[in-house]
């Protein structure tokens, strides 16, 4: 943890020290060019440009997250592995169904049915906020309601989500490119069964661990939760695959 703390301080210091360096060199450039080399306007201008950049560096240095991606990944993997252990012990083979907050007691969550049915579970009313929930009238309609990485990701989104492909693309780009810094570009297209999300150069890697095979990868889980919340309908991940530098996730709404 000490090493992690050092890393956080180093990241913040890079921006701060660069900003301070530019500030000092900008002031020196402006003073020298104004007082000594009065004919060199471009040199004064270069000093002003350095000062502008210095202000921007110092402003951004204050906004760097205190938790590094490594710490976040550590916490994420721990949580997923614990849930995966429970799922493995119960012998569950069902894939998770991602529920919007309106159907999961206030926050978007994933439901893992305890019994594998040929048809996906139909959830029409809000489920109670418990770990083990009954989602239908049948004797086997029992499942685990779990919090995923997407649950937290949805809560950090600032703008309201829209259901169209364009709005979803904007929301996911804002999340992955802007806030999480976890991808370079997001592209969404309509397919016959739902939507296809292409994540260019993802920095959340799927480890291929058993937990990921059972609970979907973290990337797919985040995307599915955001889509479920935007559509206000339960969704499932039907396919996820890596093609070179692009990670493809296909999502389908539960009828």
């Amino acid at each position: 943890m000490q090493e992690t703390g050092d890393r956080i301080r180093t990241d913040r210091n890079v921006y701060t020290w660069t900003g301070l360096g530019l500030l000092v060199s900008g002031v020196i450039l402006v003073l020298v060019s104004l007082l000594v080399l009065s004919s060199l306007v471009w040199l004064t201008a270069l000093g002003i440009a350095a000062l502008i950049l210095a202000f921007i560096f110092l402003a951004l240095a204050r906004t760097i997250p205190r938790v590094t991606p490594e710490v976040s990944m550590l916490l994420l993997e721990t949580g997923i592995d614990n849930i995966a252990t429970v799922v493995e012990e119960l012998g569950i083979k069902s894939k998770p169904v991602y529920l919007p907050s309106s159907l999961a007691g206030g926050k978007a969550q994933a439901l893992i049915p305890l019994h594998t049915n040929p048809s996906l579970p139909r959830i029409t009313s809000a489920l109670p906020r418990r770990f083990i929930v009954r989602y239908g009238s049948g004797p086997d309609d029992v499942g685990l309601l779990i919090t995923t990485a997407g649950t937290v990701a949805v809560s950090i989104l600032e703008s309201p989500m829209g259901p169209t492909v364009t709005q979803l693309e904007s929301t996911l780009a804002s999340l992955f490119v802007g806030k999480l810094g976890a991808a370079d570009r997001i592209g969404i297209s309509n397919i016959e069964t739902g939507i296809r999300v292409e994540v260019r150069n993802p920095r959340i890697q799927s480890t291929g661990a058993w937990s990921h095979q059972c609970l979907d990868s973290s990337l797919a889980s985040i995307i599915a939760t955001v889509v479920a919340e935007a559509w206000e309908r339960p969704v499932v991940v039907t396919k996820e695959e890596q093609y070179g530098k692009t990670y493809v996730v296909e999502i389908e709404a539960v009828a």
Binding site: D11, Y15, V41, W42, T44, A45, L46, I48, A49, I52, L53, F55, I56, F57, A59, L60, R62, T63, I64, E158, A173, S174, V177, G178, K179, G181, D184
Partner: protein
């Protein structure tokens, strides 16, 4: 922090390019340099729509300071004309 680095590199490159072009055109008014710098910095900041609200607030403070400098230039130009 990839988005921060990309933004900073873009702004730095743009300011440097502006300096080179204006210097090559023999522009000797510091007001012109500063005005162009401010306009470019504000436009690029607006183009980076995926910044977090915290980063955007900080950059708005910087933008306000730069704009205040621009207003000083405008005020001094007006004073020169009036006086």
């Amino acid at each position: 922090m990839k988005i921060y680095n990309s933004y900073l590199l873009f702004v730095a490159g743009l300011l440097l390019l502006t300096t080179v072009i204006l210097a090559a055109c023999n522009v000797d008014s510091l007001d012109v340099y500063y005005t162009l710098y401010v306009v470019e910095a504000l436009i690029v900041t607006e183009l980076y729509v995926y910044f977090s609200s915290r980063a955007r607030r900080s950059l708005t403070v910087v933008g306000t300071l730069l704009f205040a400098g621009f207003l000083v230039i405008v005020a001094s130009a007006v004073l020169k004309i009036v006086v």
